[in-house]
């Protein structure tokens, strides 16, 4: 310890400096969201608010104009939840079943199928916008929440399948064989034996999917239609479309509101996330 005390100081100084650098924008956003508008106009973006107020938050939540619709972010928050919850649940469960089928029921063509699924991880979103729009139109789902959920599930399955397949490679085949001899079929083995083992990977997949889908802007703006826009699209419309003077405090508050769910998810479950990412590596 003695040997390293001076290098420790340098190390911590570097870490603190890096942390300050990355946290500085967040600080500015938080401070600005708590200032009245005239304080912002007076300049000094670093300064703490002289008269802190939550009025900008209230406005962003309930009365700010999103495009021509002055209802705040609240209804769009609901849209986001209605998209995220089913999309996460479905993509994680389907990914788990896929990973299980690909590793524990080695059927003919499993490797080809997996390779095809992997391609899905690498196709840029922009490439599939038009074909996807056609598919959704054909299904009669264009501009609906269900359509958006379908898009996210379709895209998410590639990643979740990859995650669960690699996780299940580390689960001994003999456990599955034992369960089959014990009388369990495909789904009984999955639900009674494999799924209870998968908690760390379920957490990882759910967190990844949640943040990915919550933060999505592109699919939301293209496929949702005006009434079903998720909160990210609403935030953009709120910040860019307001007439007259820019209300920076409201914009900042809206940005924070939009980011809050993913921030909370990370803070609350970051530990499980790390544990899950390494779980497969440690125990066979």
């Amino acid at each position: 310890m003695r040997r390293s005390s001076s290098s420790r100081i340098v190390l911590y100084a570097a870490l603190v400096a890096a942390a300050l650098l990355f946290l500085a924008p967040l600080y500015v956003v938080i401070v600005a969201s708590l200032k009245p508008l005239d304080e912002i106009r007076a300049g000094g973006i670093i300064a703490l608010p002289l008269a802190p107020t939550l009025s900008a938050w209230a406005k962003a939540w309930g009365t700010a104009c999103v495009g021509s619709n002055c209802v705040g972010l609240r209804p769009y928050f609901l849209n986001s939840w209605l998209i995220v919850l089913p999309a996460v649940a479905i993509s994680v469960m389907v990914g788990a079943v896929n990973g299980y089928a690909l590793t524990k029921w080695r059927f003919r063509g499993a490797d080809v199928l997996f390779a095809a699924l992997l391609v899905g991880c690498f196709i840029p979103f922009q490439v599939i916008l038009i074909p996807m729009a056609r598919v959704l139109a054909t299904l009669g789902l264009f501009g609906s929440l269900a359509g958006l959920v379908l898009v996210h599930v379709a895209y998410g399955i590639a990643v979740t399948t990859l995650l669960f397949r690699n996780f299940y490679l580390g689960v001994p085949d003999e456990i599955v064989r034992a369960a089959r001899l014990d009388g369990a079929g495909f789904f009984a083995v999955f639900f009674h034996v494999v799924l209870p083992l998968s908690k760390p990977m379920l957490a990882v997949a759910a967190i990844l999917q949640f943040t990915g889908i919550w933060n999505d802007f592109l699919f939301g703006v293209v496929f949702a239609g005006p009434g079903n826009a998720p909160v990210t699209v609403a935030l953009n419309n709120l910040a860019s479309a307001s007439l007259g003077a820019r209300e920076y405090n409201t914009d900042m508050a809206a940005a924070l509101l939009t980011a809050l769910p993913t921030l909370i998810v990370y803070v609350v479950s970051g530990r499980y996330f790390l544990r899950g990412l390494t779980a497969g590596a440690i125990k066979g």
């Binding site: 034992a178 089959r180 001899l181 009984a188």
Partner: protein
């Protein structure tokens, strides 16, 4: 009626033939051990019996019913795995009850059967624990308990003791034998450990290269190995196999090991098919080489053995000699270890085996 009949089973993985036309019948109550080196196909054969893998040809008949195309769960069998394969998220109780519950038994009735089986295996104090909280020996007991609680027609064991340390392995071996006696169960047991095979089996099937080399009672396999492979695989230390040729000597035939300066008289081996000059393998167990009062009939050196090493094991000492081009191992009582360049050693030829040098089959 046989409990299990394996009829002409064959299996290929791509270009590699893993099993060639396997025929095997296991009588009810028998403890059949499939013995062989890794890669000989014994585990694949067990998996085919279990229905976990499909054979390319042949039939599996369990209790008189053809189950070749049936799912594992519809074969009324239980299996114990090398890695135990307990369900890690379930308690011991739920592990053992799982098979019963999957078959629709009520919780109360399953619990009663689980507790009976747990008492039999002395794991009733562990029922509420998770597998992760158990030692290796306890886990193996639970795995066996999970198998017996269902009272299947047939038990399959896939190297169940390989993950245990030597002492525990010996203990569990005894317990398995005792369990077999008490339950009267029919067991097919795969191992590469010839000691397990000898001690547990009522019959052994020795496998090599995807084929069964010999089926027989343990003592029969040990005393009269059907091939040089079986001879070399059974016994510890294994049977000595000397290559050489048959020579004519006064009063019959002798065996001249390659590079040796003398012959071993084969008089007491009653074989009619020998001819002088024939290439053979001469197999003799370490315990069939013993001390002798003198070497030849007239006290002369009949064959030169050079002592290389002595391995004391406590009860016996293994003495390694050079004989011609080969090394042979003999088992002596510690006090009998011979001295000198041409030690007085006798071969108990009546217990020796001769194998065809080319085919390896017993002559």
């Amino acid at each position: 009626m046989s409990a299990l009949a394996i009829e002409g089973v064959a299996k290929r993985f791509g270009a590699v033939a893993v099993l060639n036309d396997i025929w095997l019948e296991v009588a009810s109550g028998e403890f059949m051990v499939l013995l062989g080196p890794s890669g000989c196909g014994k585990s694949t054969l067990l998996n085919i019996v279990a229905g976990l893998e499909h054979s390319d040809a042949g039939r599996i008949v369990i209790g008189g019913e053809d189950v070749t195309t049936r799912e594992p769960r519809d074969r009324n069998i239980a299996m114990v795995f090398q890695s135990y394969a307990l369900y890690p998220t379930m308690s011991v109780r739920r592990n053992m009850a799982f098979g019963l519950r999957m078959r629709g038994m009520s919780r109360v009735e399953a619990d009663r059967l689980v507790e009976d089986a747990a008492r039999l295996l002395q794991i009733d104090a562990l029922l509420e624990r998770r597998p992760g909280q158990l030692s290796g020996g306890q886990r193996q007991r639970v795995a066996i308990g999970r198998a017996i609680v269902r009272q299947p027609k047939l038990f399959l064991f896939d190297e169940p003791l390989s993950n245990l340390d030597a002492k525990l392995r010996a203990e569990m071996r005894l317990e398995l034998k005792e369990l077999h006696r008490r339950l009267g169960a029919t067991i097919v047991y795969v191992t590469h450990d010839q000691v397990e095979a000898m001690t547990l089996a009522t019959r052994i099937a020795v496998m090599n290269g995807g084929a069964i080399e010999q089926i027989g009672a343990p003592q029969e396999v040990y005393d009269r190995p059907a091939s040089a492979f079986v001879a070399g695989f059974t016994g510890a230390p294994a049977m000595n196999l000397l290559s050489g040729q048959v020579v004519g000597i006064a009063g019959g035939f002798g065996f001249r090991p390659d590079g040796a300066d003398g012959d071993i008289a084969l008089g007491s081996l009653r074989l009619c098919s020998l001819r002088a000059g024939q290439r053979v393998l001469f197999g003799i167990r370490p315990e069939d080489i013993g001390p002798s009062a003198a070497n030849g009939p007239d006290g002369g050196c009949v064959i030169t053995l050079t002592k290389l090493l002595v391995e004391p094991t406590g009860a016996d000492s293994h003495v390694i000699f050079r004989l011609g081009h080969a090394k042979i191992t003999a088992r002596f009582k510690p006090g009998d270890v011979p001295l000198g360049e041409c030690p007085p050693v006798a071969f108990n030829v009546s217990r020796a085996s001769l194998f065809d040098a080319e085919t390896g089959r017993r002559l």
